[in-house]
Symmetry: C2
Subunit: 205 residues, 2 copies
């Protein structure tokens, strides 16, 4: 069956398997335990094929983190459509955003970020990616809240929400922090409410 798969699709499947394996590997073993050989073996791909798609370890892990960041943003956008309008939106949005960085994808990215702080080559490829994914995440958070950045304080509250989400991801790294996080999410929804309500008012006027 695989031999009948068109070349382009096969290539896409291989890339995807390498990306998934890279994220798993980073999350479980960290940057120092993540090599092209280890990733290729986990993906069931030859080392040569892996290097055909991604010449270096940096290329592969950066592509992986970028891909997963975009996938997560697409998923958020799809869920946004089902949300209620007005202030009651604040609760489900707080939950979606503040749980964003609690899984193995964030752990994988965190390994890269921290490794990059002592690795110049890795830093150079990650900084532009961080900026791009950060901008996208900010845009989708605004959409989710239905918030208007022209209102004073809205931009900063939305930014704080994403920074808080990353802080909560960190707090969930070594222990299961779900219970404490859920209480913070409830309080955060109250803090976000005026942001959503102000926008709804101004849209109505």
């Amino acid at each position: 069956m695989t031999t009948r798969e068109p070349q382009q699709e096969r290539s896409r499947t291989t890339r995807r398997r390498l990306i998934d394996a890279a994220v798993e590997c980073l999350a479980e073993r960290g940057w120092h335990g993540t090599t092209v050989s280890v990733i290729a073996e986990r993906a069931g791909v030859s080392r040569g094929a892996a290097q055909h798609h991604f010449p270096t370890r940096e290329d592969l892990v950066v592509a992986a983190v970028a891909f997963l960041g975009e996938e997560q943003i697409t998923e958020l956008r799809q869920r946004a459509a089902a949300l209620p309008q007005g202030p009651s939106r604040a609760g489900p949005v707080a939950e979606m955003l503040l749980n964003l960085f609690t899984g193995p994808k964030f752990r994988a990215a965190l390994h890269l970020w921290v490794a990059a702080s002592t690795d110049e080559a890795l830093r150079e490829v990650l900084v532009p990616l961080e900026a791009r994914v950060g901008r996208e995440a900010h845009r989708v958070a605004l959409e989710l809240l239905g918030a208007d950045e022209a209102q004073p304080g809205v931009r900063e509250t939305v930014q704080a929400t994403l920074d808080l989400a990353r802080g909560l991801g960190l707090a969930n790294l070594l222990t299961d922090d779900t219970r404490r996080r859920n209480q913070i999410i409830r309080q955060w929804a109250r803090i976000l409410e005026p942001t959503v309500a102000a926008t709804a008012d101004s849209a109505a006027s």
Copy 2:
């Protein structure tokens, strides 16, 4: 002069030099580049003397992170005494707390936390330390705000402040994020104001 230094004081000086060297080393090279030999050399202490004080690399780095966490909390407490009473306290407190994790001490701790996520032995010593330092930081944040945990939402807002601070520390890891952070700090002061004001009201009643 050093030979006249009392034994106990000399021992304290050595420990302190090892701790400072461990933090510098972690912040610059990460966990994988931090060995007892490297730390001892940087501290100007023999490897044997270093191991007399701290038998393993884990002992040394954990002591370092614990010591610096406590030092930071003591410093915050001293600065708390100089703060104004009432809601105007929110501004300087937001600034103090949200800048807490932007320096090399946080970077050192972050290397350890992330390494511990893939290293069982390190995780075992770090988890109780994380809980202890977390509780202390929460207590000092409450003191700084002059906030009363019995008021609904106060506990969670204070927790969110520290989680946000860690998120902002992460955002400052690869690039200088000061400008963006300062805007978030201003908005955060507005969000914290009712927490401080509610407490001041209830204290006055």
